[in-house]
């Protein structure tokens, strides 16, 4: 480290500045996200169950586990619950994606390592935001000309609204599930009675058939 020349440290500085610029985008909604380790072969998938008409924004960046100067290249694929590919990128170190969901269901994002010349573990930073977290508060602040405490309270108001919507959604889901449960309950009763009736019918049919058969054979 004592051997570091001036050009190496300036290159590092340029990288820091570039990183800060790239990360400043993330900080608008949420700085920091979850890290996962990518295996050298095979894919790692994360998923989330999202409703329709929800804005989803995400960013991911890949790094080597041991600090090295370069970054690994990975590929990603985001699919909708019906199987449509919403985002597909190959051979990148970091990327962003944004889409609005059209159907509700399980959205799957899969990542895999393209090339790993160093052979060290790859760790991936995934920042996956949905709904209220994607709201661009900077634009709202500029448009409505609010700042400071008022802006913070407006953000909280948005969050409370999102919580209320979420609660309504949970209520509808619970109502749907209750209907399915009650239908299943009714079916259990109906099918059990029918099974009993079928049993009795079958034994009566057997008795009648065997009586006719034995009479025909003159055994009774």
């Amino acid at each position: 480290m004592a051997m570091r020349t001036a050009e190496a440290s300036s290159a590092a500085l340029v990288r820091v500045v570039a990183m800060v610029a790239a990360v400043a985008m993330m900080a608008a909604g949420r700085a920091g996200a979850v890290w996962v380790k990518l295996p050298n072969s095979g894919t790692k998938c994360v998923s989330e169950e999202i409703n329709a008409h929800v804005v989803v924004m995400g960013e991911y960046s890949a790094f080597y586990e041991e600090d090295m100067k370069d970054t690994p290249t990975i590929s990603s694929k985001i699919t909708s619950p019906y199987g449509n590919t919403l985002h597909h990128k190959e051979n990148v170190s970091s990327d962003t994606f944004a889409f609005t969901t059209t159907e509700s269901g399980n959205y799957l994002g899969c990542f895999w390592v393209d090339s790993n010349p160093h052979g060290s573990e790859v760790s991936l930073n995934i920042d996956w935001k949905t709904g209220i977290a994607t709201k661009d508060w900077e634009t709202v602040a500029k448009k409505e000309k609010i700042e400071g405490v008022e802006l913070e309270l407006t953000k909280l108001e948005g969050l409370v609204e999102a919580i209320r919507e979420n609660l309504e959604y949970l209520k509808t889901r619970e109502a749907e599930m209750r209907e399915v449960s009650e239908k299943t309950n009714a079916w259990v009763a109906w099918f059990s009675i029918m099974a009993l009736a079928a049993c009795i019918c079958t034994s009566l049919l057997q008795l009648w058939y065997l009586q006719t058969y034995f009479r025909k054979k003159k055994l009774i």
Binding site: V16, M19, A22, L153, F191, A195, C199
Partner: protein
Amino acid sequence: MAGEGGGSRALFLMALLLTASLYGVRQASALAISVTDRECVYEYVFYEGDNVSGNFVVVDHEVFWGSDSPGIDFEVTSPAGNVVHSAKGKSGDKFELKGLRAGMYKFCFINPSSVPETVSFYIHVGHIPNEHNLAKDEHLDPVNVKIAELKEGLDSITAEQHYLKARDTRHRHTNESTRRRLHFYTLTEYLALGCVSGLQVLYIRRLFSKSVAYNRV
């Protein structure tokens, strides 16, 4: 992780910390991963004393009898390497711990059975500026502390909602599995009943058929 100057990941984290201190941090991740053997998720805690809270629910539960699945184990490891929280054999749990150190915390899900399970988790790292931060930064009011506390309260409600939604999803899977089993087993039951009674009749006919009867006589 202290890179020797050129580490791009260390730089990335430094940049995150820089922007976190400028813009404020709001960290929450809600995702679901499929756990075959052991899956670990990492979350970076920027300030010491932050509250790390979250929950997880095992959502995809394809087992035949309920007692077959022992649930999954959960472990949280601090950046120092010691396990700060662990839970065994749970199908869903909430956790809350204080991040006594800043750094990368590791949240691991361990699946003891051979069947892969999907785990839906929510991890939230909350920071409330305290008097020390207030003294350092003149832009911060005591109002900001109250607002941060309010935001933390709302974030905890959001965490509960994620947990409820994941539990509801699991319940829904169980219900749909019950419905499918009901239809399948009832149909099989009727078919089996019909087949067995038909076979009984055929067998009795055979017992009393001419070739057998005359041999008995």
